[in-house]
């Protein structure tokens, strides 16, 4: 395709829930049931060391994951130091640390399968 137009057709920003692959969503819901309890208060992110130094936002990462948007999860999760502060602040008792570990696990396993 020759781009003599000076522009290309924009990709949509919106989440297409119907088309998104929700394998990770289902995996996390099964392995970390408490993750379903999130109400998006953001307490986890407010105290997060990595979140204060980078754009890492664990609340957002896991919420996107629940909608099947996992494209950025891998890169984002690498910033986490697993210190567990998020878990201590969560008013809903979400096992955030475990959730992160399981997301990493899932990514690693799937990566292996892809390779």
């Amino acid at each position: 395709m020759i781009n003599f137009w000076g522009y290309s057709i924009s990709e949509t920003r919106s989440i297409n829930y119907d088309k998104n692959d929700k394998a990770m969503t289902e995996y996390i819901a099964a392995t970390v049931p408490s993750s379903k309890l999130c109400i998006g208060c953001g307490g986890c992110t407010a105290g997060c060391t990595a979140g204060n130094l980078t754009d890492f936002n664990i609340r957002k990462v896991q919420m996107l994951m629940k909608r099947g948007e996992t494209k950025d999860a891998k890169e984002q999760l690498q910033k986490c130091m697993l210190c567990g502060k998020c878990m201590l602040v969560c008013p809903r008792g979400v096992e955030t640390r475990k959730m992160i570990l399981e997301m990493l696990n899932f990514i690693k396993t799937n990566q292996k399968l892809e390779d």
């Binding site: 049931p33 408490s34 105290g47 060391t49 990595a50 130094l53 980078t54 690498q78 910033k79 130091m81 697993l82 210190c83 567990g84 502060k85 878990m87 201590l88 602040v89 969560c90 008792g93 979400v94 096992e95 640390r97 475990k98 570990l101 990493l104 696990n105 690693k108 990566q111």
Partner: protein, 587 residues
């Protein structure tokens, strides 16, 4: 020539076992890292070897530690181990005295009563016969206890006894049969030919009164020999592998061999040294509070041995170290479990590259509060007050841009990522140029001590406060409050810090002595190490722990860890939970 075909099963079994063991131990030791192997060469001719012999006698035979934890259980293990040992040793001496030679085949002593004509006496033959009968009785009592324990474990003060597989049950049966069959064989022989002492002689007469002993005696010896041979053949693949392996482990341990991060032959030796006594089941709070009873070391090590899937069990542990502290064999249970946790974070060159260059004030003392302490500002504030009161030149190095110490990553098995965090942190600590590094968090403390290579002296704030008081830099008053001390896992059991916090606490309050003092402290349940249990289960552990302390009616539950404080505060609604630093700041 004393020989009969029935000795063959025994002899073949014994020789096979010895060959197998030599092969196994050689293979395992060969897989040690080079520096660990060096320790063996160095230790072999040191005092440690003698000390090991003594420890083997105390632990492998007398089971002194089990005795201390549970006398009934200790007695059972002792009758078995020590009884059998004596049976072999005394039997051997007896055979040597009779034969007047040290070089008789091994089976001769074992089957002495068969080969020895009963009418033939030799020096002290009566005494030997008596002794041998006494030891046999001692063993038979042990077996009775063991059988009772299997069916009524509560009698032994144990809520749960180790659950066994079919294979284990087979060898257990074989073991249980060995001594009763020996008893029968000796009794039958005595009933026919005379000989024996108070036990076998009388039993022989008794059996002879209604049994055709002439048809039973010889087969009984066959059965006895076969049972022994079978036991030796089954041993390497059963839990009784612990009998020889524990001895090997005691030597290696005393020579200074260390369990590293990786699972290796040394871990294999430890896994095989587990006698599955089950003490770890009862000390585990996951068992007592959450009724989780398939993850305790006894089961976990068995899974490793049997190559069963264990990722779930590997995660389901608080790593509080209570099992390790009570393990009679002294296996590095935490380290072995940690080695089974997968490294999930893919480390690349810019992993954690976002951590900024350290910008810290230089001072004599560097204070590292730790991430968790930032959620307990009371601890930080108290430490600042203490520093100021003692006029210490200090720098609060993680006040703003502190990062994690790396231990949580390591606890989850992610050693590679942890190393990067540790390096960055080390850089920051060193930038302060301090002589002393004080931290409020035992988790940080443990990793600073074990995994960092810092020039500064590392002190937990309890140690530091004790030093300030001792050196007169800090004056404290004894307040009229009753306290109990909850020694954090990572501090007491994890880093051997027991006296400093207790001393400090005694100087500022009336410290109630509890059964949880020192290394017997409970876990608060908030441990980062366990990712398998949910927050409800953590709360349950915390609640039970608080209940245990509340029984002493303290005014304050004192701890020395921000995570413990937060976790215990969650359930302790009546009694305040404070950090030692807070109490000292008030005093």
């Amino acid at each position: 020539m004393y020989y009969d075909h029935f000795v063959l099963p025994f002899t073949i079994g014994l020789i096979t076992l010895l060959i197998y063991l030599c092969f196994k131990y050689y293979k395992w030791i060969k897989s040690f890292p080079r520096e660990e192997r060096k320790k063996i060469r160095k230790g072999l001719f040191s005092l440690q070897t003698i000390r090991s012999g003594w420890e083997i006698f105390r632990e492998s035979l007398l089971h002194h530690k089990i005795f201390k934890t549970n006398p009934m259980l200790g007695y059972m293990h002792m009758t078995f181990a020590f009884g059998w040992f004596l049976l072999i040793v005394v039997g051997k001496i007896e055979s040597m005295v009779y034969h007047t030679s040290a070089f008789n085949p091994p089976y001769f002593a074992i089957f002495f009563r068969y080969f020895h004509p009963a009418n033939e006496t030799f020096p002290y033959s009566e005494t030997f016969a008596f002794l041998m009968d006494l030891i046999l009785l001692f063993l038979l009592i042990g077996i009775t206890l063991a059988i009772t324990k299997r069916f009524y474990s509560r009698l032994f003060g144990m809520k749960k006894t180790t659950k066994q597989r079919a294979y284990d049950l087979l060898i257990l049966t074989v073991l249980w049969l060995i001594f009763p069959v020996r008893f029968l064989a000796e009794s039958f022989t005595s009933g026919l030919n005379g000989g024996g002492s108070f036990l076998t002689y009388n039993a022989g007469n008794f059996f002879g009164s209604f049994l055709p002993l002439e048809h039973l005696s010889y087969p009984a010896w066959w059965v006895y020999s076969s049972l022994l041979g079978l036991f030796f053949l089954l041993l390497p693949f059963s839990r009784y592998m612990h009998i020889p392996t524990e001895m090997v482990y005691i030597f290696l341990k005393n020579w200074g061999v260390k369990q590293g991060r990786e699972y290796n032959g040394y871990s294999e030796i430890q896994v095989n040294a587990c006698s599955r006594c089950g003490i770890c089941i009862n000390t585990c709070q996951l068992n007592s509070s959450c009724d989780i009873n398939d993850i305790q070391p006894v089961y976990f090590l068995r899974r490793i041995r049997n190559h069963e899937p264990l990722s779930k069990q590997a995660e389901n542990c608080l790593m509080c170290g209570r099992c390790e502290a009570s393990c009679p064999v002294g296996i590095n249970l935490n380290a072995i479990r940690q080695s089974q946790r997968p490294d999930t974070i893919r480390v690349v060159k810019d992993t954690y590259a976002y951590v900024p260059e350290p910008e810290v004030k230089r001072a004599k003392v560097a204070y590292f509060a730790g991430c968790m302490s930032h959620l307990t500002p009371g601890i930080i504030k108290s430490m600042q007050q203490i520093f100021e009161k003692a006029k210490v030149d200090y720098s609060f190095i993680d006040e703003r841009a502190g990062i994690c110490c790396g231990r949580p990553l390591a606890l989850s098995g992610n050693w590679q990522a942890a190393q990067i965090v540790m390096d960055k942190n080390q850089e920051m600590i060193e930038a302060s140029n301090a002589d002393i590094l004080v931290t409020s968090c035992p988790i940080c403390y443990k990793t600073f001590k074990e995994d960092y290579t810092l020039k500064a002296q590392i002190m937990h704030h309890t140690e530091y406060i004790e030093m300030l008081i001792r050196e007169g830099q800090l004056k404290v008053n004894n307040m009229d409050v009753k306290t109990v001390f909850h020694n954090p896992c990572e501090l007491g059991r994890g880093s051997q810090i027991v006296h400093a916090p207790e001393n400090v606490l005694k100087q500022v309050s009336y410290k109630i002595t509890t059964v949880y003092d020192g290394k017997k402290s409970l876990c608060c349940g908030g441990s980062l190490a366990n990712t398998a249990i949910d927050s409800g289960q953590k709360t349950k552990i915390s609640g039970d722990t608080v209940k245990a302390y509340t029984a002493y009616h303290p005014d304050v539950i004192v701890t020395a860890c921000p995570l413990c404080k937060k976790t215990l505060s969650k359930t302790s609604t009546e009694i305040p939970v404070k950090d030692i630093a807070e109490l000292v700041a008030e005093a």
